[in-house]
């Protein structure tokens, strides 16, 4: 029997072992994150077949669920923890060589803490525990954005920290209001009693919690920090922030909306906000000359699409939304990793500086092109089935509002195609200076890039690899009664 607690406990313990280990050997300290995350990946994959039949509920401290802090390893939680550890593992391998300057052992400690926080958020069944893990995730990401210590990094970290701290305070007020009414912090127990009180006294904490979590999830009016933070962090951190941190934020929003509040009246509003986020993100990305800033705005757009798909709340749509989470994580992490070494070799963030780099850095450029095509949604890559599922779900829902909105989403996909193809054109079809310094990225960095490419193409060609898991994850999110029954009986 594999215990899901280990998914949190092992990386947490190893994170604090890094500073001690680095006193003896800084080479060994570098290898701790890949080891911890491969352990998590193996454990998640072992748990996956088990939780597809029955969710595993772990009560900590030997008390029964409404009174204890519990972990709920359902299909959604384990799916997310598998994605987190997979992307985290590949990015940590990349970072072994990429992070050379500064206090590297602090980087690796914070990196592992960030992923511990993310894993905790997706596995916990207690709303205050969710807040605590969320803070672990947020505080380590504030520090990591400022890791390079340059002007842009510090400024964006301050911006991110102030907005994030206000968001967390709102979340905590919402949790306090819920506790005051229900006298419990267990998510299933709150969900069980949510209908017994008046609408307004549920609505206020819901708005506060959604707003607080929405800051980290970068939903439209709350995302002013994202383009700065994601573009001035080290590239390996941008990959994790774009690929994992904001997805975990979206997970928390959706878990709270669907499971705790069982909200149906607000979902139309959330779908419209998601579509607004998508359009604004893509339009801003289109006008960028800085490659990392462009990728950051494209993340905002993708988050909008994910929120829109999840808010449609049909089983097709939620499956499509979760599929889009997987495809965005893979593609965006790949894009940031590839862009990282391109920027490192050319020394410039401008897209025009990348002219002709397709000849001197062939594999890295191929990685960038694969990631870009996948995000646009071209057929052999993973972005195609996920976007296709969302479009199909919107058409099948039969509501004219969703059909109009999905039309706008397709328009946004055209804009996305325009700016990504522009970069790919610069990479391959513009003759650049033949500079001997622009050599291929080192092998340690190429391994994760190639693995990401293989995963994107493999799942793109054969989506059945993961659709089974996605289907049961979608039904866990939509059937709140089953969730409540499995936790409190």
């Amino acid at each position: 029997m594999v215990n899901p607690v280990l998914l949190i406990a092992v990386p947490l313990a190893l994170a604090f072992a890094i500073p001690v280990l680095s006193l003896f050997s800084s080479r060994a300290a570098k290898l701790v994150p890949p080891i911890a995350l491969s352990f998590n990946l193996v454990l998640s994959l072992l748990l996956l077949p088990k939780v597809l039949e029955n969710p595993v509920i772990v009560s900590i401290g030997g008390w029964q669920p409404p009174f204890c802090i519990n972990l709920v390893a359902g299909p959604v939680g384990v799916l997310f923890s598998a994605i987190i550890s997979l992307a985290g593992l590949l990015v940590s391998v990349y970072a072994v060589d990429y992070i050379k300057e500064g206090a590297t052992e602090k980087y690796h400690t914070l990196y592992l803490l960030l992923l511990t926080g993310a894993t905790g958020v997706v596995l916990t069944g207690d709303i205050f525990n969710l807040f605590v893990f969320f803070e672990i995730l947020c505080i380590s990401s504030y520090a990591l954005v400022a890791y390079k210590g340059d002007r842009a990094g510090i400024e964006s970290a301050v911006k991110y920290l102030i907005q994030g701290a206000v968001g967390s305070s709102l979340l905590l007020i919402g949790i306090g209001l819920l506790y005051g009414q229900f006298g419990t912090l267990n998510m299933a127990d709150i969900a069980q009693h949510i209908e017994s009180v008046g609408r307004i006294s549920v609505f206020v904490p819901m708005v506060l919690i959604i707003t607080g979590l929405g800051v980290e999830a970068a939903i439209f009016p709350l995302n002013a920090w994202l383009p700065d933070a994601h573009s001035s962090a080290p590239s390996s951190i941008s990959a994790i922030l774009s690929g994992i941190a904001i997805e975990v934020g979206v997970y928390a929003v959706v878990r709270v909306l669907f499971t705790i509040f069982g909200a149906s009246s607000i979902l139309l509003f959330v779908a419209c906000v998601g579509m607004l986020t998508l359009l604004i993100g893509e339009l801003c990305a289109f006008s960028q000359n800085n490659i990392k800033r462009m990728l950051a705005y494209s993340s905002i757009g993708q988050i909008g699409l994910i929120v829109f798909a999840l808010a449609m709340a049909t089983s097709y749509a939620v499956t499509g939304g979760l599929f889009q989470v997987v495809s965005h994580t893979l593609a965006k992490a790949l894009l940031f990793l590839a862009a990282g070494y391109m920027i490192y070799r050319t020394g410039s963030l401008d897209i025009s500086a990348l002219e002709g780099i397709g000849k001197t850095m062939p594999l890295t450029s191929l990685g960038f092109a694969v990631g870009a095509f996948s995000l646009i949604g071209l057929p052999p890559f993973v972005g195609f089935p996920s976007k296709f599922l969302i479009v199909r779900a919107a058409l099948a829902s039969g509501k004219s509002l969703f059909i109009v909105l999905i039309g706008l989403a397709l328009l946004a996909a055209v804009i996305e195609g325009a700016y990504f193809l522009r970069v790919v054109q610069v990479l391959y079809f513009k003759a650049g200076k033949n500079n001997p310094e622009r050599k291929e990225a080192p092998v340690v960095a190429l391994i994760p890039i190639v693995i990401f490419m293989i995963l994107i193409i493999a799942i793109g060609i054969y989506p059945k690899l993961i659709t089974g898991v996605l289907n049961s994850a979608a039904s866990e999110l939509l059937n709140r009664m089953d969730y409540i029954k499995s936790v409190v009986g």
Partner: protein
């Protein structure tokens, strides 16, 4: 009077929360903004304590005979506040250390002059 007793604490807590938000939104000096964050966090902590407060309550321990569970203070919000205080300390410490680095780079803490990152 009892109404006043029950709600005075909430008024104080939300008063602090709104003062904190006002400071964060209107001040241009980073240190003042961080002080605003501190006030906001204090307000939230006070609010959590209010949720579990019982007037004339005792500590939730059956230390002697005849103690009524109805008159005990709820211990859960206090545990939450302890956690929230620790988190708040971490956030404020990080914010202040970032402020020091920001001052090294820009020579000012006025947020109106620090505007290299924009839309």
């Amino acid at each position: 009077m009892s109404v006043l007793h029950n709600y005075a604490y909430y008024a104080g807590a939300f008063g602090l929360i709104f003062i904190g938000l006002y400071v964060i939104l209107t001040k241009h000096n980073l240190i003042k903004v961080i002080i605003g964050l501190g006030i906001l966090e204090t307000g939230v902590n006070l609010f959590l304590i209010c949720v579990g407060y019982t007037r004339n309550g005792t500590a939730p321990i059956f230390s002697r005979a005849g103690l009524d569970a109805e008159l005990m203070v709820d211990p859960v919000p206090q545990a939450l506040v302890l956690t929230a205080i620790v988190i708040g300390v971490a956030v404020l410490a990080l914010a202040l250390s970032l402020a020091i680095r920001l001052y090294h780079h820009y020579g000012t803490l006025n947020l109106r002059e620090i505007r290299e990152q924009k839309w």
